[in-house]
Structures are given as structure tokens and as C-alpha cells.
Symmetry: C2
Amino acid sequence: MSVAIKKAVVLLSGGLDSATVLAMAREQGFTAYTLAVSYGQRHSAEVLASARVAQTLGSVQHQVMQVNLHELGGSALTDRSIAVPEAPTTGIPVTYVPARNTLFLSLALGWAEVVGAYDIFIGVNAVDYSGYPDCRPEFVAAFEQLAQLATKAGVEGQRFKIHTPLISLSKAQIVTEGRRLGVDYAQTVSCYQADDEGRACNRCDSCRLRRAGFEAAGMVDPTRYQTAV
Amino acid sequence: MSVAIKKAVVLLSGGLDSATVLAMAREQGFTAYTLAVSYGQRHSAEVLASARVAQTLGSVQHQVMQVNLHELGGSALTDRSIAVPEAPTTGIPVTYVPARNTLFLSLALGWAEVVGAYDIFIGVNAVDYSGYPDCRPEFVAAFEQLAQLATKAGVEGQRFKIHTPLISLSKAQIVTEGRRLGVDYAQTVSCYQADDEGRACNRCDSCRLRRAGFEAAGMVDPTRYQTAV
């Protein structure tokens, strides 16, 4: 008897959200190909974290793609001349990286087609999402449509599905679900300006959302901070 | 008196088509930011050609983005274990690079947003297009829609336009138009397996289409071939 293998490409940044997504994809029975994108972000400790998480959660292949986005600038995450904000801001924040999720999904789509996967998982979130336009359901739907038209597999009749299992969850719901699935959040790095050991600043937007999530879920926060909290 | 500057990002591979597109964008009055993507393709001479063409045709900034697509494989253009075909094939050829134009347009979109350009030019062609799905008008229209939803600029009401001035031209029409605009095709490299000096193989699909284009236009073919024709 031969059992069909369901393959998926999972975008895995090494942060809290994408680690949870990987665990969810695995629970749904997908064989996971994990993809991290190193794009000159300040928080390269996140990329190292992605490899640890990939191994722990049973990725069959972990690929790090390198893109020199920092040469384009335009974001506090890729351009060291723009400061990462340490107080809440309104509107779309300076940590927005132009067209980032479009790029990430493009790379995932290309790899998916190569390995014969028609399911792509991405940890976008429209609740605690910091106001990024490319985390909204309408963006994801538009990319799914594009994938059909962009690829040989799509033209040949395969249906690509972009899975966004976190899209309507709060941070507290995400970590609660991740705990149930055995995610070790001590392995993950969410901070926008983590140090080389992956210790978090405890001041940026991403740190604030993460900390509040553990608090709201009534869970111990395993994050390693640069200074004691 | 201050004159508004119309900026555009122009994808410039260094081949015949994109050089013509750059000349057309310049004629339409756009200040051109040119973007080449080095993705581990066999024909890296093309990337060197892009810099020469950018300078000759008045690009204000030429950016080469590096992406390690060869690590994903899946195409004769990025994987040396797959041979470039030297006879016409049917269907979508093995030179198809999964999700390539989606990736290229993502990078162009990100840079466009950084420099404040809302016009992007790409030299896709639906006539002599070798059967690639991501060269079709419906793909381009879907990407334009995505761009609105994916970006801060789009959310704030800017309209992105993807210009495809070659989409319905034959190769002969393209080179005729390029000659009128002063494009020096001796600077361009189209071959899928050009040598390090940019000399063409004269056998691959891309060489065949290019040579036939000059012939049909009644123009001298300035291509430098590896062996005398």
C-alpha cells in the first residue's frame, strides 16, 4: 500500500508565529519544507532560530534564501539609518519592509513548484499585525490567484492554496495553540533588534506584542531578554 | 518652475527585450531606475551586459539584486544538471524558472516603493515568449492588482502600473523599435548559455528567436557568437 504524501512549503522566520504555523502544518499531516529568507534584516538571530525550530518540529528540508534587500533600504528592519521605534506608533510603521510578503511568497511558490507542493503556509496575522498591508486576507487571496496564473503547475491545473492559520488569532491564542502542539518558544526569536545570541530588546513593537501574548495566555514567557525584565 | 519627475523601475536583464523596454521608458519621459536580478542563472554574462546597457541608455541608478535561486533548482537556467534544449520543444520548456517573473516583479515593487515610483516596466512578450506562463497578460494584470494590496503606497491610494510595452510585438518589431530609439544591441546578451565574454551559443531557443528577429526585420545581427555562423 502506498500512501500519498501531502507536501507543503512553510515560511519559517524563526519567530513565534511561524514556528506555530509549522507545528500546525505538521499536525494537519503535511510533510514540511521550511523556507527562511535572510534579507539583511537586523535580526539575523531569527534566521539561526529558524534552523533550530525546523529541526525540532520535523522539517524534511530547511532552505535559507539570501536576498540583498538591505541594498534597497526603505525600512527600519533593513536600513540601519532608520531607528526601530520603541513606543507604539499609528499607521503603517517604519518596520514595514516594502513588498516583503510578496517576495517571501514568490520564493515559496518557486520552491513549491520545484518540490511538487501546492500548499504554502505563512504566519500572517491580521489582529496583532502591526498594520502591515501584506498581512491582510485580501492580499493573501490576491496572491493565491496570482499563483495560478504565474506557474507551470497552475496552468496545468494544480490549485495552489496559501494557508494562513493565524490570520484571525490573537497572540494569546497563537501561543496557547503552540503550547498544545509542543512548540518550544525558547527556541524562537521575535525581536526586531535581537542581539547575536538571540536575546530580545524588550522594547520594540514585536517584543511588546509577544510579551503581551504570553501574559494574556497566562503562560510563562520563555524569551531571553538582553536585560532582566 | 518645478517640473514633476516621473520615476519608473525598469527590470533590465541585459537581454535584447529589456534593453528595448528601457529605451521605450526613457522615450516616454520616465526617469529610470534599472534592476537586474542575479539568480544563479547560467548566463551571468547577461548581468554584466545589463550594467553596460543601463549606462548607455541613461539609467539614474542600476541595482543588481542577488537571489540564490540555483539552490532551489528546477530549471535548466539555474540547475546545471538539466541541459538547455537546442531544438524546438512543445509545451512549457525546461528553461522555465518557477515563479521567476513573480519574484522579479516583487523585487521591482519593493524598490519602486522605496524610491517613490509607481510605474514598473518589464519586457515580457506573449508572441515569441517560449511558452512561459508568467509572460501572459492575465499574469501581469493579476500582479498589478496584488501590488495595490501588498504595499503601503497602494493602501495610501497610489496606483501601481505594470508596463509591458513588448507584450504583443514580434521580435522583428522589437528590434525595429529599438533601432529607432538607438539601442546598441551589440551590448546585449540573450543566450541561455553565453560564455564569460557574453558570446552566444547560436543553438538555444533564445538565440534562435533573436536571430530570426533580426532576419525578419532585415537588420544586421550584431550578436557575437562562440563559433562563426
